[in-house]
Amino acid sequence: MNDQDLERLLKTAGRREAPPAEVERAVRERLHADWQAMLRENRERRNRRGGFALAASLVAAAFGLWIASTQSVGPSAAMGTLAVAVGEVRERSGWFSGWRVMGGGDVLVAGRTLETGADGRAAIMLPGGMSLRVDRDTRIALVDSSRLRLERGTLYLDSGSGQVRTAQLLVETPAGSVRHVGTQYELRLLDAGVQLRVREGRVEFRSPTGLVEHGQTGEQLVIFGDGRVQRGEAPRAGPSWDWIADTTPELDLEGMSLARFLAWAGREMGFSVTFAPAISEAELASVIVHGSTAGLTPTEALRAVFATTSFEATIIGERIVVDRREPI
């Protein structure tokens, strides 16, 4: 096609329509404001999560140290890595030493005490794929590689999605200790005992007097110091779990299958995943996603990732329902 053919063809097709100026102005203004807001959010998130990249590399080292520590536990054995630090997170090595402010990427060492302030939250990556989340106003003594003591506040433990699960972590409280059996649970220290909410799997509570209680998925147990136990239901998702999303470590999304991403999102949000009749998990396993979900909560990540696929994920009750997106 020569230059004249090209000119004739373009003129026959007509010039592309220019959007109305007022629409352009309105969209530009709103998009610019949104961009500025996004930059602010990114800056804040970077400040909060700045050490995550370092954490990712350090966790491997921490794992090595943990392996060594299982052979001979010493006071300086590494227990894990601080993946996310929101607000004030600090540690001290003993009663006579001062508090040291911690940031993302710091290695946690056995024998020390970790504390979050009134605005502080943290996520800790532990060997064996375990993820420990620490709520505000919480104090934890890192006893050794398989044991910690909750002295105040609330923690949440996710033992991992099933691939590794070789590690065990015993959580001690003044009222007794909790051992997980492949689970996600929240443990809150109360004045009169502990409150245990099991999001997935099973946990075992053992008091110093020999009382043994088991909690199952969707169950809440309040165990009082005098041995009384109150059982109730605990929803797997909802506002009472929102604090955990605030400390979700970044996901290495690049090259991951959509099925695996979905499993991660479901686990972080406490939702089960179901598929529409015409869709199989295998189909999602063949879809590879790229990029990162840096700075997004699991709910935001779910929306962002699915927006670029031909599937849609809808949250119905405590389920993520995956269906094929309606073609247009």
Binding site: M1, D3, D5, L6, E7, R8, L9, L10, K11, T12, A13, G14, R15, R16, E17, A18, P19, P20, V23, E24, A26, V27, R28, R30, L31, H32, D34, W35, M38, L39, N42, L253, E254, H290, G291, S292, T293, A294, G295, A304, V305, A307, T308, E312, R325, E326, P327, I328
Partner: protein, 211 residues
């Protein structure tokens, strides 16, 4: 506005994303100028010409695209990726307002869409019979929109406005020689795009449209 400099090993899209995420105002302007009009033209016919709906959908699309830029890796081309988001937003918009009967365009059909997105030719060619004249000319404009933004602009400036190469270079913030080279690449890309979508030689397409 001067064209942003591209670092070795990075595509223009990747550089634009990096600069935009770093807070560079010029990158924001470049992003807006490169995508707003094209996404608007993509959305408008799918919303049955509803300008207000197109404004909202384009706003949401660009906002989502902007917020997802960090995750974009360039495999599909930034505009194709933005169009995919826009397509989903159109569905969401219509569903939220319980409007049925959304518009299905020729380039939403799987074969044409695949051609537009990946530049693979369909097997048969019968231009006016297959598409109709209006749809065929619209598809020519779609092909123009699918080219890198400065290619489409440069071709329109040259062939509609009769702009000189020197002036096109000034408008793009590049030199005359670079503008000449860009125009040559734009012609090739346009011709290849037409051939991929219509499955025929560009000269035959021009003839069958009576150009």
């Amino acid at each position: 506005m001067a064209a942003p400099r591209v670092q070795p090993g990075m595509t223009g899209d990747q550089q634009l994303i990096r600069d935009m995420l770093a807070g560079d105002e010029r990158a924001f302007e470049a992003f807006f100028n490169a995508y707003f009009a094209r996404v608007y033209r993509f959305a408008l016919p799918r919303l049955n010409g509803d300008v207000e709906a197109a404004r909202d959908v384009v706003q949401t699309t660009l906002s989502k695209a902007m917020r997802g830029l960090a995750g974009f890796r360039g495999e599909s081309g930034l505009f194709t990726w933005v169009c995919r988001i826009c397509r989903n937003e159109v569905v969401e918009y219509l569903r939220a307002r319980k409007r049925g009967g959304h518009v299905v365009l020729m380039d939403d059909h799987a074969s044409v869409r695949a051609a537009v997105e990946s530049i693979e030719a369909p097997e048969e060619f019968d231009l006016v019979k297959s598409y109709g004249r209006d749809e065929a000319t619209r598809l020519v404009r779609v092909v123009l929109d699918r080219l890198p933004a400065n290619y489409g602009d440069a071709l329109e400036w040259k062939y509609f406005e009769g702009d000189s190469v020197e002036n096109i270079g000034k408008r793009l913030g590049i030199g005359t020689v670079a503008a000449q080279s860009l125009l040559a690449r734009a012609r090739i890309a346009f011709r290849e795009g037409l051939e991929a979508v219509f499955g025929a030689e560009a000269a035959d397409i021009a003839s069958s449209l009576g150009a």
